[in-house]
């Protein structure tokens, strides 16, 4: 809730700056806020492992170069799509990098329990509470129990994503005479209208290597927030509300109305499980277009054919994935963030975490695109595009903010059964069986 207010307040001040992804990388370190003194670590090496590749990896390297310039240390980043599998082997065999960037708090929690993470300390936790919008909930996201059940702050949230967005091509909407829906009822009516017109409304793809299924879990979470109360959502995350309870099955059925409808999905419902999530949005821009809408988080423009330039030049835009008018659940918003954990202690690594508390470190990445932050001190002038500012506005008008549920669930569920069973659901398994199977997997690890 605080996160939303902060971005509302600041987004009003934002001056329009028209740079897009990848532009002006030469001076990413030249940010509105100045970097404080971090000390000198000449010759020291910090190893970082994460799952970011491609465009994200480039932006990450640009951002850490500011740290390298300031301290003289070298940051070696190795990114792999198989991060989740590799990091477990590395940590268990004493080959830990200094910093591991977990896209899944569930997995980070598992590793903390095995004793592979180094606590970041109460100072950093209280800093985050004070300086991040909705700070205490971000601290909670990075707080895990160790083997003895003692809770500590391990995961520093840096680089956040806003989900709940529907991407579309304004020109296509104009040509077809469609308007942006503001309610879920309107969105479904629009989808039906598109089908009646001979168009295909949605592009959906859940394939993602050994993380296949996560896109479907995002749909589920967004629909949970739209079909049942936020309290039920929290209970669902902690499994007080079973996975095969009517509320969850209902949300899954609603997701099925979109994704398992041959008329709704480009390539037919059977293509959902085999379409790479990064290829799915390309249907918006193909010639002729294969679909007109795509629900995905704020990072997705990096996968557009022109790598996000579409958003800057008006070829692509997004609207808020709307709630049901009749459900009276307000405007819920779903988000996520990557968690930077210390897996091998060193003074230079500590300095790197110090660096991440600097507003300048956030602004350096904000200026490159696909980066949202809850840092209150970061100047919103730094955002690369008006689109990112608009995402801030969606956050700001939200009445409910929730973290990605699959990220909060234990790794075996949130990065395991939930993914694989949603993929099975995409392949035709019915909702009740899917819910039962995930619940069985959860019971097995209790």
């Amino acid at each position: 809730m605080q996160i939303t207010k902060k971005i509302l307040g600041a987004s009003a001040l934002v001056a329009a700056s028209f740079t897009f992804v990848g532009a002006a990388q030469a001076d990413v370190c030249d940010t509105p806020s100045k970097l404080g003194d971090l000390g000198s670590f000449e010759g020291e090496v910090i190893t970082v492992a994460g799952s970011m590749e491609g465009q994200d990896e480039k932006m990450l390297l640009n951002t850490v170069s500011c740290f390298e310039k300031a301290t003289g240390a070298t940051v070696k980043y190795s990114g792999s799509r198989d991060f989740a599998a590799l990091i477990v082997a590395d940590l268990r065999s004493n080959n830990a990098p200094n910093i591991s960037i977990f896209p899944q708090p569930g997995l980070a929690g598992d590793m903390a329990k095995e004793g592979h993470l180094v606590p970041l300390g109460d100072d950093l936790a209280s800093w985050m509470t004070e300086n991040y919008g909705a700070g205490s909930s971000w601290v909670d996201l990075g707080t895990y129990a160790d083997a003895d059940g003692k809770k500590d702050f391990y995961g520093f949230a840096y680089k956040m994503d806003l989900k709940s967005l529907v991407w579309y091509s304004p020109e296509q909407f104009e040509d077809n005479g469609y308007d942006i829906p503001t309610t879920m009822e309107g969105l479904i009516a629009l989808s039906d209208q598109m089908v009646a017109d001979g168009n295909t409304p949605w592009c959906i793809g859940v394939e993602s290597g050994n993380a296949t299924g996560w896109t479907a879990t995002d749909w589920m979470e967004d629909l949970m927030l739209r079909t049942t109360s936020p309290e039920n959502y929290d209970k669902w995350v902690s499994n007080e509300l079973a996975f095969n309870s009517p509320e969850v099955i209902n949300a899954m059925e609603v997701y099925g109305q979109f994704s398992r409808n041959d008329d709704y999905v480009a390539g037919g419902a059977s293509s959902v499980a085999t379409t790479f999530f990064g290829d799915a949005p390309k249907g918006l821009f193909s010639s002729p277009v294969s679909c007109l809408m795509h629900r995905q988080a704020s990072f997705i423009p990096a996968f557009f054919p022109k790598k996000g330039e579409e958003v800057a030049n008006g070829e692509a835009d997004f609207f808020y994935f709307p709630p049901y008018e009749t459900a009276n659940l307000g405007n819920p918003v779903l988000g996520a963030g990557t968690l930077w954990t210390m897996t091998k202690d060193s003074p230079a690594t500590r300095a790197f975490f110090e660096f991440m508390t600097e507003a300048s470190a956030h602004e350096a990445w904000m200026g490159q695109g696909t980066f949202l932050t809850a840092h209150k001190g970061a100047s919103l002038d730094a955002y690369a595009t008006p689109a990112l500012r608009k995402q801030g506005e969606i956050l700001s008008t939200a009445t409910t903010f929730r973290f990605d549920a699959s990220d909060l669930m234990p790794g075996a569920i949130g990065a395991g059964a939930f993914w694989s069973e949603m993929t099975a659901f995409a392949n035709g398994q019915d909702a009740q069986t899917t819910g039962d199977n995930i619940q069985a997997a959860w019971d097995a690890i209790k």
Binding site: G43, E44, V45, A49, E53, G54, Q55, T74, K76, Y77, S78, G79, S80, R81, D82, L86, A89, D90, R92, S93, N94, N95, E171, D175, N176, G177, D197, G198, N199, F276, G278, D279, K282, F285, S286, S287, P288, F303, P305, N313, E315
Partner: protein, 409 residues
Amino acid sequence: MMITRTLSHSVLALIVFIWVVPFVALVSTSLRSETEAKTAGFWTAFTPTELGHRFSTHDKGDDTEILTMAGNILARLNNEASGFPVTGDVQSILIKTRIPDPENPEKTKLVRKLVPAGEVMGVRGGDFVFQTNGDFTWTFEQPATPKPKNLDVFINQNPVFGTDAYIEVLFDNKNVPNALISSFIVTIPATIIPITIAAFAAYAFAWMQFPGRDWLFVIVVSLMVVPTQLAFLPILQGFSGIASWATSMNQWLTDCELTDTCQVASKSFASLWITHTAFGLPLAIYLLRNYIVGLPKELLQSARVDGASHLQIFTKIIIPLSVPALASFSIFQFLWVWNDLIVALYIGPNNADDLVFPIRLQKQLGTFKDQLHLLNASAVISMIVPVLVFLSMQRYFIRGLLAGSVKGG
């Protein structure tokens, strides 16, 4: 006789066809433009094919008032310089408009129409006509400043091939060249080391008498079934132990401080050599032992009588006679190590500069999954090396495949 030969020839032709198709697909896609590679299958690359493109009538920000605008669709499409100019006959433009629905008076209906060359269509209040050669005119009744319009156009496109993808992959950055070098650094020692050890061991198993020889051989052979994946964690733990021991030795000997220069990495090329050697050895020993045991006994006995030692027999007689078996195993091991992804991923160095080719390809899958032509270009480059190795050593390979199967061969 005739029939069986025809049959075997056609089966052979079919097998060759099945194997060649993916290769042709890979090579032809790597030589195509990005849009073509994405929109149409490789089999359409060789003949004129109708493909959809989106072009904009003019650039944004041009505010001059006009009555008529003239231009060329192909020129608009080829605006951005690339090695793959679009040429061919412009077939049709897809136009969508809403008209009152005759069946349902209150509602409108979407009409989708493919407009052929020469026919007038309404675009932003003006009349738009195009010709097969791509020329278009856009006329307005009154002077207007139309916004640029993006239109879907279908062009019967001539085949065009170019090496842009190879140039981009090889020269845009050092990723692929580095990966080639790293792969050689890993593969050559990881082939030579096991073959050397295995040759000695195979001789011992074949011609030397020592207690427990047969049992030891059975154990070695049964090690062939141990899957690599099962051993990753203990192997990694071992290397990490060795590395920390080596680091402290280094500190003690060179008096360096605990910085990167002092640190001995546990995931390195050396760890890959050791791992590939360990997992390659059982098969190598088995293969070579079966070959060496089949060499004529009399040859070795007369050498013994002449007073040759085991080492002399090994280097002077066994090695020269075993060239086919040695060569065939080297090909096996070379191909296996060259194509290996998973061992390198877990145990190999993970600096961006030291990644072996399969990891680089996998990373390009992450980076370029949308840029098939680039991925395919790298894949072709990575294929060239094993193909050359195979072609240059294939005469040994065929003989070596029979290794141990024919006595006295």
